[in-house]
């Protein structure tokens, strides 16, 4: 019997070894370890053995049974691993093939610039205010110290609808409206972005419609040096910490003194190049201390209040910052142009 068991063991292990699939392995398990298998048979015949032989054979039979089971388990693990490997090999894909595209959109470059500037001034305590694009002559001109017949009205030939209604030529009327609403009761600190319109023939540097952002701060004791400080923060955040600013006297009817702000040219670091026309400086915006008459008209006592105002063109800033060479690009909406600035 002992020999019989040993022969069975040898035979079974041989079969396990030869099995190449989980199915064959299962067949081996059933054949040798199943209820009708030869080992069970042997154990069943143990009744015929002597009292002394019984535990020896019993032990041997269990051992053989264990050996076979272990061999099957181990072989099973091997086959499973092999099969998994085969499955994974079959599932391999070419990861260099293009992925499924997701539709992507994005903001218009002008919106990006305007929002960047809005956020920057919000950080300095400014509110963002908007107003109508179709304005009255009063708010667009008269309230800003530009009475009828003023020669400076030539500077901005306008689109009139009636004698008294026109497309706003700047966003300053929003400032006039805001001050008028508050009537000198508290300080005003605001910026107003928006579309403006002028009678210009569209070409590389002119557009009959464009964008403006104007700022206004009216309070007690507002100084020219405050304007310089605020504009310096703006220039450095917008164009880089290395940028210097300078103010030059200029003229606007609604500010006195009036200045223009230049920043040091980024291309040449102020050395002079073709971008800055060899001056080392690039004109960015106009500003000044709010004209006493403008304050007065809006109900602010110029003896108590003073203020500064500034205005800039996002198109110009975008053109400088990103090298856009033609203002018409902003309004043609060529998808190839728009997409260039979706990450801007």
């Amino acid at each position: 019997m002992k020999e019989q068991l040993q022969a069975l063991e040898k035979e079974a292990l041989q079969k396990v070894e030869e099995a190449i699939s989980l199915k064959e392995l299962q067949d081996v398990r059933v054949a040798y370890l199943g209820k009708k298998g030869p080992i069970t048979e042997v154990l069943r015949g143990m009744g015929k053995l002597s009292k002394e032989e019984r535990p020896v054979i019993g032990e041997l039979a269990n051992k053989v049974r264990g050996q076979i089971a272990d061999a099957i388990d181990s072989k099973k693990a091997d086959i499973e691993a092999e099969e998994l490997e085969k499955q994974l090999a079959e599932e391999t894909i070419d990861v260099t093939l293009p992925g499924r595209p997701v539709p992507t959109g994005g903001p218009h470059l002008l919106t990006s610039i305007v929002e960047e500037i809005e956020d920057l001034f919000i950080g300095m305590g400014f509110e963002v205010r908007e107003g109508p694009e179709v304005e009255t002559d009063y708010y667009n001109f008269e309230a800003l110290n530009l009475p009828k017949g003023h020669p400076a009205r030539d500077m901005q030939d306008s689109f009139y609808i009636t004698e008294d209604i026109l497309l706003r030529t700047h966003t300053s009327p929003v400032q006039a409206r805001t001050m008028n609403m508050i009537q000198g009761e508290r300080p005003v600190k605001m910026i107003c972005p928006g579309k403006v319109y002028r009678r210009d023939t569209d070409d590389a540097t002119h557009s009959h419609q464009f964008t403006q952002i104007e700022g206004l701060y009216v309070d007690k004791n507002v100084r020219m040096s405050d304007l310089k400080g605020v504009l310096d923060r703006f220039a450095k955040q917008m164009f880089g910490e290395e940028r210097q600013i300078r103010l030059r006297p200029s003229f606007f009817p609604f500010t006195e003194p009036s200045v223009e702000m230049d920043i040091s040219c980024k291309m040449c670091n102020g050395e002079g190049c073709s971008v800055c026309k060899k001056t080392g400086w690039i004109e960015i915006l106009g500003a000044g201390l709010v004209h006493a008459r403008v304050l007065e008209m809006a109900g602010y006592d110029p003896k108590v209040y003073s203020g500064f105002a500034f205005g800039m063109g996002p198109e110009r800033i975008a053109m400088l910052k990103y090298g856009v060479d033609d203002i018409r690009h902003f309004y043609t909406n060529d998808i190839r142009f728009l997409k260039q600035y979706h990450q801007a």
């Binding site: 609808i161 209604i165 006297p249 190839r336």
Partner: protein, 808 residues
């Protein structure tokens, strides 16, 4: 304003600075220097030569053989200029000289005869043709007789001059004169100024005996001065005057005209010269023109005048349009001997109106419009007399016939050092203040920190305290103003609810794959009525048009963003960009009046246009073309992100596909539409199948709640039941869904269409729509009976309302 630096040097010393540095200083102090240009270029080995003889070239008809004395030698030169003659003094480029354009002059043989140099025209020396005096325009330049033989021509022809172009703001009309610029430069550089002299001898004959003056239009003409000069010999003006005029961009004509132009530039005071013998009378009357009065101006145009125009008359008829242009009849000509010089102050508004109306903008009208210096009017007349005496052989009659009601007073402005410092944020001392006023050449009285400033009449722009604040700031230097941040109370900045919502919608649509556009607000009259949302069309009475559009294309304010956006889409299509998905958030302009008298309502709209492929993945053979449901899906998700319920219902909208358009409603209020553009209109715009939407942003803002409310996360499982219904093809899914939602009861949390089918196994004219129904009770687990009851109720309701049957 073009400023010749050589001319400027007559009044102020600027040699301490390079032209570039000078330009920089002027720019930083208030007047922008827009350009620095060389007038010509210094001559190289070109001298004044004397033509000793001039004979025909033996072998060429059109060439002359000249012997030219150039001081140290006599050169044989062949010259083809038609105006060459013996006895002339000319500019001779000697062999070895190099003319502008790198043109090298060498000894040469022309038709067998030796030529040792070239006799030059001004153009060949680098002067722009348009400034060259007419008599020399097509030939060589001829020097006056007193030119010194052998000297380099650079200085006598002003070839080394540099022209500074000033960009003047409207307030700085004082710099429309060489003297004004000189005062500015003197203040900046702190150097003294030299004024020109105006002394001349006068004849015994009195001007007042020859001419009388009446000014009727006193308001428009507060000063009129008439100077008379006789024995005038018309001829070329001296070379230096011609040089400076050319440098300033004015072509020399003759001595009388050149002198009036010279004084105009020097003093900023326009003058007019009348041929006194052609005046037609011995009187000058200044009055407003009669309605319909005619005048032939110097440019030979007949002008019809009105009572708004100021004219100079001879007592009977107009002889000049005051301040704008003289009359042809009294023009100075070669034969003129007696000249009446007009030096006057005309009202700026009056001149502006006339020059604008006749489109006659001139150096003179420009200065009158902006206001001339009262103290220079008579002075300029005197300066002209002096120059005419010196350079036109004139005898000046005694006295000036004048009418004078001009205000010569200087404006008084009081400033305080402390107030100046408060406004600028500076620390300027009283002494510095005084020094600044001295540099500006302003008279003032000082009492401690109080300065009473008398603004000179040349600076008409200085009226109030702030004007002086600016003067102090610019001379003190903005670079010297410190950087500070506002000390006022802290204020929280921020966006309004509207701006926040705008940004949310922008970001959502961008994330959904749309690109933002910015289109023009002005569209054409034809396009403006296209694709107007029904609820807008209902409200508006007229579209808002410009009184004077620049083009028909941009003449009317939009009532929808879509027409201009579709033009942009077509622009892309024409450039082989077939896949476009756009949105824009912008205003439309709704007028509720027949004829616009007030500002129109401005309403913000969100519009979009999509065409071409939406999603493609070629190697996986996937391709999704934009259709109605792509657009609807984006809008549904947008409204979901805003937590707003929106319904879509079939609608007819002008310009839209009748079967593929929906109107959108929130709380039963129409807020816009979405769908496919009508094929006819697509064709009209050169578009392929294009889907659009247009929605009222303002209404969304009105009802949008910023704060989402917390809802419990359900702890009990949901039950799903599917239901497939067979209905007539005309029954819409939305209607079925509404019935299901109503009949199904509160336990139904969601209803989704998962299949739409028509064709085989279904009767003709029928379709099947299958829904998944999601049941849930947040408080407990649902029983089968409850769900079944709801299901049966639904079946009954759809059967009754839509004749729907359960699909077998």
């Amino acid at each position: 304003m073009f400023v010749s630096l050589n001319w400027l040097k007559k009044y102020v010393d600027i040699d301490q600075l390079s032209p570039e540095d000078l330009a920089e200083r002027i720019t930083k102090s208030g007047i922008e220097v827009e350009g620095l240009e060389h007038f010509a270029s210094p001559a190289n080995n070109v001298v004044v030569g004397y033509v000793e003889s001039c004979d025909k070239h033996p072998n060429a008809d059109k060439l002359n053989l000249c012997q030219v004395n150039v001081g140290d030698e006599t050169l044989q030169i062949i010259c083809g200029a038609p105006n060459i003659a013996t006895g002339q003094k000319v500019a001779v480029a000697k062999p070895g000289s190099v003319l502008p354009g790198n043109f090298k002059i060498k000894k040469a043989k022309l038709r067998g005869v030796e030529s040792n140099g070239m006799i030059c025209s001004l153009q060949e020396l680098g002067v722009e043709e348009k400034f060259v005096p007419k008599e020399f325009a097509s030939g060589i330049f001829v020097f006056p007789e007193d030119a010194e033989i052998g000297v380099d021509v650079t200085e006598p022809l002003n070839l080394d001059d540099i022209i500074m172009e000033l960009g003047l703001t409207p307030n700085r009309s004082d710099a429309l004169s060489m003297l004004g610029v000189a005062y500015e430069v003197a203040a900046i550089l702190d150097v003294p100024i030299r004024l020109p002299h105006t002394d001349y001898h006068t004849d015994e004959e009195k001007a007042a005996d020859q001419v009388s003056l009446t000014v009727e239009a006193k308001e428009q003409n507060p000063y009129y001065g008439a100077f008379l000069v006789k024995d005038v010999k018309i001829g070329p003006s001296p070379l230096w005057i011609r040089n400076y005029l050319m440098a300033a961009g004015i072509r020399p004509i003759n001595n009388v005209v050149d002198i009036t132009n010279y004084v105009l530039l020097e003093y900023g005071q326009p003058l007019h010269a009348f041929d006194f013998d052609k005046l037609g009378s011995n009187e000058v009357v200044v009055r407003m023109a009669n309605e319909g009065e005619k005048l032939v101006t110097l440019d030979d145009q007949e002008r019809t005048l009105s009572s708004e125009h100021l004219v100079i008359t001879n007592g009977k008829e107009a002889i000049a349009l005051a301040g704008v242009m003289g009359g042809a009849d009294s023009e100075v000509t070669e034969q003129t001997t007696t000249v009446l010089i007009e030096a006057a102050y005309f009202d700026g508004q009056t001149i502006r109106k006339a020059s604008k109306e006749f489109d006659l903008r001139s150096e003179a009208s420009n200065r009158f419009e902006k206001g001339v210096d009262p103290n220079r009017v008579r002075k300029a007349g005197e300066r002209a007399c002096q120059l005419l005496q010196d350079y036109a052989g004139a005898t000046v009659l005694d006295g000036v016939v004048e009418y004078d009601q001009l205000d010569y007073s200087e404006k008084t402005v009081t400033i305080w050092t402390s107030t100046i410092n408060d406004r600028l944020g500076t620390n300027i001392s009283n002494d510095q203040m005084a020094d600044i006023l001295r540099k500006l050449n302003f008279n003032y009285e000082q009492d401690g920190e109080t300065f009473t400033v008398y603004a000179p009449t040349r600076r008409q722009d200085i009226v109030i305290f702030e004007d002086m604040l600016e003067e102090v700031a610019r001379i003190f230097g903005y670079d010297n103003v410190p950087f500070t941040l506002p000390s006022g109370g802290a204020q929280a900045g921020g966006l309004t609810k509207q701006q926040e919502l705008k940004r949310h919608i922008n970001q959502f649509l961008e994330g959904a794959g749309l690109s933002e556009t910015v289109t023009y607000s002005l569209t054409s009259k034809e396009r403006v009525t296209e694709l107007v949302s029904p609820e807008v069309a209902e409200k508006m009475v007229s579209s808002v048009s410009l009184a004077m559009p620049m083009s028909e294309e941009h003449s009317t304010l939009r009532l929808s963003i879509l027409p201009e956006m579709l033009s942009s889409v077509a622009y892309n299509l024409a450039r082989k960009q077939a896949n476009v998905a756009y949105y824009e958030l912008g205003s439309i302009f709704i007028s509720k009046e027949e004829k616009v008298t007030k500002q129109p309502d401005e309403q913000l709209r969100i519009a979009g246009a999509l065409t071409g492929e939406w999603l493609t993945h070629p190697w996986q053979q996937e391709k999704k073309v934009v259709d109605f449901f792509v657009v609807k899906g984006i809008l549904e998700a947008l409204f979901e992100s805003l937590n707003i319920d929106v319904t879509f219902s079939q609608a007819k909208v002008d310009g839209m596909h009748p079967g593929r358009t929906a109107q959108l409603f929130i709380n039963d209020r129409a807020i816009g539409f979405a769908g496919q553009v009508h094929p006819q209109l697509q064709k009209d715009y050169d578009l392929k199948e294009t889907f659009v939407f247009d929605i009222n942003f303002d209404y969304i803002l009105e009802i949008h709640e910023n704060e989402p409310k917390f809802a419990k996360i359900p702890r009990y499982p949901s039950v799903t039941r599917d239901i497939a219904l067979v209905v007539d093809q005309s029954v819409q899914a939305g209607a079925l869904e509404a019935t299901i939602a109503h009949a199904g009861g509160e336990l139904i949390k969601d209803i989704q269409v998962f299949d739409v089918y028509q064709g085989e196994h279904l009767a003709e004219g029928k379709k099947s729509i299958a829904f998944s129904l999601f049941y849930q009770d947040p408080e407990r687990t649902l029983t089968d009976d409850e769900v079944e009851a709801s299901y049966q109720a639904i079946l009954e309701a759809v059967g009754k309302e839509h004749n729907a049957e359960l699909r077998g």
